[in-house]
Symmetry: C2
Subunit: 315 residues, 2 copies
């Protein structure tokens, strides 16, 4: 089982409008609701790839109830894999995110509510539940996304240490101070994007920045570089990879699919370059999917053998 | 008891963001949730004025559950009046509306979800419940807002006829084809704005248009003219009224407050000019309220004696 943690889970709403005009009133043509937050997206992709995945994090209120109902419906429809709900109930209300798709321009405008306030007792309760999940045979753990209010800024550092104590490989995908603190706890993999990596290292050149992040504690750094693919720095070597064609589409969730690629490769003990190729092909297949945050399986099958992996060298 | 009907009730969300930029991602600084839809706003104002009010219309899903919880909390906090929940439960989900307040410009961008689909059986069930409510001593009825999908376009005409058969004065506040059909059923009052009035009569000059709407069936026409106040055409005469100063603020809900003013004056059997003055003062006090859709009581108390009511004559 692969465990994904989404401390600030969300109910993602997508509104389609003919054209978004600030200060105007709009009739929403179509509303879709789905479970959201990075770790839930990672789990959805892992499920589609055939992996047994368990999701945890905080959930509460009426929005949390809808999220759990949708998660159960997804699980019932699941393909080869499965997603088990081990979310931790809190008194606060799960946040919503609203993505407004402008049908004229194709652009999405995003509004993200703040998360529920987590009490110290809830955080302690979650830690106990997390330790129990680690003990139930987790092969790998992914810690994903922002922290809701009330959770200590060093939360991910604590969760990384718990996983390492339990001997379970742990991937961290967050940004800012939670990433900086998490790095010091020596996660197996961090997956920042180029901007997040530059933000914590002060270095804009990706390979130098990735090596700097590695010196700060990460065993491996997988940096997503948008249309330029990904860069991977490990203790065994450094590689970059990209798909051979320029893709257009919706990049929402592409980073989460990359995390799923890295984790699935880790669970299957693939060599690093193969994990990287899988992450890059899944990202590309997500950009090409008509539904934000899902990957297009034929694109994935076509892309995977065509990903170019090269040794990376300091410029 | 005054009965307000909101067939397309909503859970109104207000998001405050530093500045709304299309295609960007925004952290919402503050989220507020409240019961929404015109008839629910009218009831809130009537409650604050000390009237016993009952609300009905369709409600369903998790959003409907939140709406009812908020309504019950409002009722517990109510001032002199009270609002009783007689909403009719359906299988569909109550719509949300999202108002995005740009803290830089002060402007609001509005997104309105479509309502739940109402089945013919649900519409029949509602009609039965509505007749029962009319029989419980309603002094006046207000029929407010748009129709959710599935409800017949002549729905308001049916509801007007039922009220008239029961001998209860009925006010209609809607637009487009539902207003056109509703007029033919001879409501006691219709309250269009200038644009809605022009839309159904083809006449842009408000007094001529109001007289045209009267000929189509309304006993009285109260037209809201934005910053120019209101125009009232009845079988006893025609009046216009406005506040003596130009007010700036948020006009959201000003029309609903005007409806509350007209209904409260009707319930107290005030002369027409006094009902009009009350409607205009409440509208102005709503524009000046810091919270959208609520009225500022000191502004109302100050405005009411200063409203200028004049006989209106065809230009």
């Amino acid at each position: 089982m692969i465990l994904t943690v989404t401390l600030n889970a969300a109910l993602d709403l997508t509104y389609r409008v003919p054209h978004l005009v600030p200060h105007a009133s709009h009739r929403v043509r179509e509303v879709t609701e789905r479970p959201g937050g990075k770790g839930l997206n990672v789990a959805r992709v892992l499920g589609a790839l055939g992996f047994r995945t368990t999701v945890t994090g905080f959930v509460g209120g009426e929005t949390g109830r809808v999220l759990r109902t949708l998660l159960a419906a997804d699980a019932a429809d699941a393909g080869p894999g499965s997603v088990t709900d081990a979310l931790f109930q809190v008194a606060g209300r799960t946040r919503r995110t609203v993505g407004i798709v402008d049908e004229t321009t194709g652009d999405t405008t995003q509004l993200n509510e703040p998360g529920p306030h987590i009490t110290p007792e809830e955080w302690d309760g979650f830690l106990t539940a997390y330790r129990e999940l680690l003990g139930r045979g987790a092969e790998a753990v992914a810690l994903c996304g922002s922290l809701p209010p009330g959770v200590p800024v060093g939360a991910y550092a604590t969760l990384v240490r718990e996983a390492r104590t339990a001997g379970i490989p742990v991937l961290l995908d967050t940004d800012g101070e939670p990433l900086r603190r998490g790095l010091a706890a020596r996660p197996d993999i961090v997956k920042p994007n180029a901007e997040e990596l530059a933000g914590i290292t002060g270095t804009a050149e990706p390979l130098r920045a990735a090596r700097a992040a590695q010196r700060r504690g990460a065993h491996a750094v997988a940096a997503s570089l948008g249309a330029d693919g990904m860069l991977l720095v490990t203790q065994d070597g450094a590689w970059s990879a990209a798909v051979p064609e320029r893709l257009t589409g919706n990049p929402t969730g592409a980073g989460d699919s990359a995390v799923a690629g890295l984790l699935s490769g880790l669970a299957e003990e693939l060599p690093w370059p193969d994990r990287l190729a899988r992450a890059v092909a899944l990202s590309a297949a997500t950009v090409r999917s008509p539904v934000a945050g899902e990957f297009d399986e034929p694109t994935y099958a076509r892309m995977l053998p065509s990903v170019r992996v090269r040794k990376a060298e300091t410029p």
